[in-house]
Amino acid sequence: MIEEYLEKILWTYMFFVMIATFGVSIYGIVFRPNMLKKIIALTIFGDTANVFMIFIGYRAIYPIKPPVLWTSHPDKNVLNTFVSQSIDPVPPALVITAIVINMAITLLITFLAIQAYRLYGSLDVRDLSKLKG
């Protein structure tokens, strides 16, 4: 009884922490003037979204295993045990591409920021917005 109650509290706390991280990163994206700081906040937002995706595929049971089968010639019992203990493999498969592609997009944005600094000598969006032509 007390364990169920504790579990509920811990999961609720986890969601609040996750949403708070979203909030902090949105604050960084919207209110911080420096472009590199905006990029850092954007990656934090993306990472937290990915963690949330993985949470959806997680299962609230204890003997839990990654979706990797330990034998190459499974029979019926092995498969049933495996499915009863493994996490959902679909969210990790979606997240793994998202992480690598996010990194490539971050590199592209960083390049553009460096180029803007070369041309205009500033990374502050307030300075960049005053430029004309």
Binding site: N34, D47, M103, D124
Partner: protein
């Protein structure tokens, strides 16, 4: 019992990640902000490990802690270090 222990470790790592993310956003010195962001990535690597996704641990440990911080440090060296208020 073990399930609760697992959950407590998960909560702890998420909280550490949140603290590092907060410090990274609030820090004026961009170099320190990148280091805090790498700390957040390291905490999330352990979160992914506890959530039983070894594939993501392999990719994210290399990208989040290694490539991302190196690229940001190079970018800071090429541009400016301190954020204006």
């Amino acid at each position: 019992m073990f399930y609760l222990l697992h959950l407590v470790m998960l909560v702890l790592m998420m909280s550490i990640g949140f603290v590092f993310a907060f410090l990274a956003i609030m820090e004026r010195d961009l170099l320190k902000a990148v280091v805090f962001s790498a700390g957040q990535a390291a905490a999330y690597v352990i979160v992914y490990y506890l959530l039983m996704s070894p594939d993501i641990v392999l990719a994210y440990a290399a990208i989040g802690v290694g490539i991302y911080s190196a690229v940001m440090i190079i970018a800071i060296k090429k541009t400016e270090r301190y954020e204006k208020v």
